[in-house]
């Protein structure tokens, strides 16, 4: 596979974020890594069915829906990942006996189905590649990271109280090279894919961020995992800065969501970072220090 030409291996694709798009939901956010974009909507706190009612906290219901085809077991796995990442961050006990309903809809992800030519005639069959790639596993890492970010921002949009911010990014190793925010094609050609989620906030990671989620598949050395994690940490800090800017604009005088498209340099460091919870509304309450 050819090296990246459009951006450096450690650069993100253009990010985009817009909030409060949906009229019927209490909060909604569309978050994109380049052409992978996910819409998240939150309804709640609202009435909960008795069977699912929890006495001391809100019930978190998550639905993940694919762009193409019907949801299957892998979407249930995505829901479980989101639940275990979000549940510790949301102050669920503030909303006992109620329902927080989070729905995620992938809005776009480019299909790789017919990106290369192939033929059924025996003469033209290509031999299997010598290096083992993740070709047989549908690409999902960038989408998974976008889902995590969209969910978090929908919670912010809906004014649901959280301990801190959750930011995720995908990383892949392609032909030994570490690539941040891989495209679908890169995910297919990767030897390993990783999604890292970091939380930011007082007691939950500070301004540096704390790794609260790892989902890695493929074949990779321990050092590669750490290398990827470091890159992801820097990248999530940059994404958070972007989110912060975008939210500030939204709640500022202009009101309209910014047509955000920035390419943050991966070298962007923590100096400029401030406590992320202070942004947005007052409901982003902090736990006691």
């Amino acid at each position: 596979m050819a090296p990246r030409t459009d951006r450096s291996p450690t650069a993100l694709r253009p990010l985009a974020l817009s909030q409060s798009l949906l009229a019927r939901a209490d909060g909604s956010t569309k978050f994109s890594f380049g052409n992978v974009s996910v819409m998240a909507s939150i309804t709640g706190p609202t009435e909960v069915r008795i069977r699912e009612e929890l006495v001391d906290k809100a019930t978190l219901e998550i639905n993940v829906r694919p762009l193409r085809g019907l949801a299957g077991p892998s979407h249930k796995a995505a829901e479980t990942l989101l639940t275990s990442l979000l549940a510790p961050l949301i102050l669920l006990h503030l909303y006992p006996r109620s329902l927080l309903q989070l729905t995620l809809q992938t809005l776009s992800s480019s299909s790789t189905a017919f990106s290369t030519a192939f033929s059924t005639s025996p003469s033209s069959l290509t031999p299997s590649p010598s290096t083992v790639t993740l070709q047989s596993l549908p690409p999902s890492s960038a989408e998974s990271a976008a889902r995590i970010n969209a969910s978090m921002l929908a919670l912010v949009d809906a004014g649901v109280a959280c301990k801190g911010m959750l930011v995720a990014v995908a990383v892949a190793f392609v032909e030994g090279e570490l690539r941040l925010d891989p495209t679908q094609r890169e995910e297919e050609m990767a030897t390993s894919r990783h999604v890292f989620a970091f939380s930011f906030g007082v007691d939950v990671g500070g301004t540096e961020g704390e790794c609260v989620g790892v989902d890695s598949v493929g074949q990779f050395e321990v050092d590669e995992l750490f290398e990827a994690q470091s890159l992801a940490q820097t990248a999530t800090q940059a994404i958070l800065a972007f989110i912060r800017k975008s939210i500030e604009t939204r709640y500022g005088a202009t009101g309209a969501p910014p047509p955000a498209a920035v390419k943050p340099a991966p070298a962007m460091k923590e100096e400029k970072m401030e406590l992320p919870e202070e942004e947005s509304e007052g409901d982003e309450s902090m736990d006691d220090a």
Partner: protein, 305 residues
């Protein structure tokens, strides 16, 4: 901590006999915490890095016990018991991958195995396990899909790996991976020929004479799960421990190479970053987990052999 003192003050005021079973039911967290403070786990396993092999539950494998399946493996991991049975079918390869057969893993958590599950279609938990099992088996490439081809673009084997849980006591993914690997190791594919005239595939029954072809496997994936409770690392947690843990980490290592095949962790951070104050403190502990996982994998590999 406040809760554990509660339990002690409650006992004299409360029932005349607060039996361990009752204590466990009423105050599961303090119950587990008391054990861990004593450096021991509720099932008697020691706690701590230098405890060696004793931190794991006993694992055993019984290969080929189901004669209706071309290959099968029964795994016991402590009380957790599950069976992986293989069935074979033949299908035309996907048009985009004419050189590949199929692996279809599914995990069933029937109502039989635990009061947590109801009869009916697969629970969410079963679906999540199926997904993660598939990801591990495919990403590790343990069974090269190309080896399942009978005739390129025309016919290939479909290997169904059905994992049925019989007793659910934590560590299901670890046990399921072990069961699948055990069953795959033992699998022999019958000799099959694709007939261009009829478009059908005929197989030779496996017998004394025609033993079929065993498939050369790539390095085997071996899965090891840890739970985190109150800052304690609990290797191979039981169901009771799992439900109380704030976070889990699963590490899948390769049997013969130094590569990792899958790392999964979600929830509260593995180790609080402030604990040792050093950047990368959690990292050292993750390394320790990986080292533990590798030593466990060696043990698991021995019982598979």
């Amino acid at each position: 901590m406040a809760q554990s003192t509660t339990a002690s003050t409650e006992a004299p005021a409360g029932t005349s006999a607060l039996t361990p079973a009752l204590f466990k039911r009423l105050h599961p967290r303090p119950y587990l915490d008391r054990f861990l403070q004593e450096g021991v786990r509720p099932d008697g396993r020691p706690l701590g890095a230098d405890a060696g092999e004793a931190v794991w539950r006993d694992a055993s494998v019984n290969i080929g016990s189901i004669s209706t399946a071309p290959s099968s493996a029964l795994i016991r991991l402590g009380n957790t018991t599950l069976v992986c049975g293989i069935t074979l079918e033949i299908a035309p390869p996907d048009i985009t991958t004419p050189n590949q057969g199929f692996i279809v893993p599914n995990v069933d958590l029937p109502a039989l195995c635990s009061p947590l599950f109801r009869p009916g279609p697969p629970s969410d938990e079963a679906q999540v396990l199926s997904t993660r099992l598939r990801d591990i088996l495919i990403a590790s490439n343990v069974l090269p899909l190309a080896s399942l081809i009978i005739e390129p673009a025309k016919a290939a084997f479909v290997v169904y790996l059905d994992v049925v849980c019989l007793n659910f006591d934590g560590g299901i993914l670890d046990a399921a991976v072990l069961a699948c690997v055990g069953a795959l190791k033992n699998l022999r594919l019958p000799k099959a020929t694709w007939d261009p005239d009829t478009g059908a595939t005929l197989c030779e029954p496996i017998s004394e004479k025609a033993q079929g072809e065993s498939i050369p496997l790539n390095p085997l994936p071996l899965s090891v799960t840890f739970g985190i409770f109150n800052g304690h690392l609990l290797p191979d947690p039981t169901l009771f421990e799992s439900t109380l843990c704030t976070s889990h980490i699963t590490i899948v290592v390769s049997s013969t190479t130094s590569k990792l095949l899958h790392v999964y962790q979600a929830g509260a951070p593995l180790f609080s970053a402030g604990a040792d104050g050093v950047e990368g403190g959690g990292r050292e502990q993750l390394k320790a987990c990986i080292a533990l996982a590798r030593s466990r994998a060696k043990g698991l590999l021995e019982i598979l052999a």
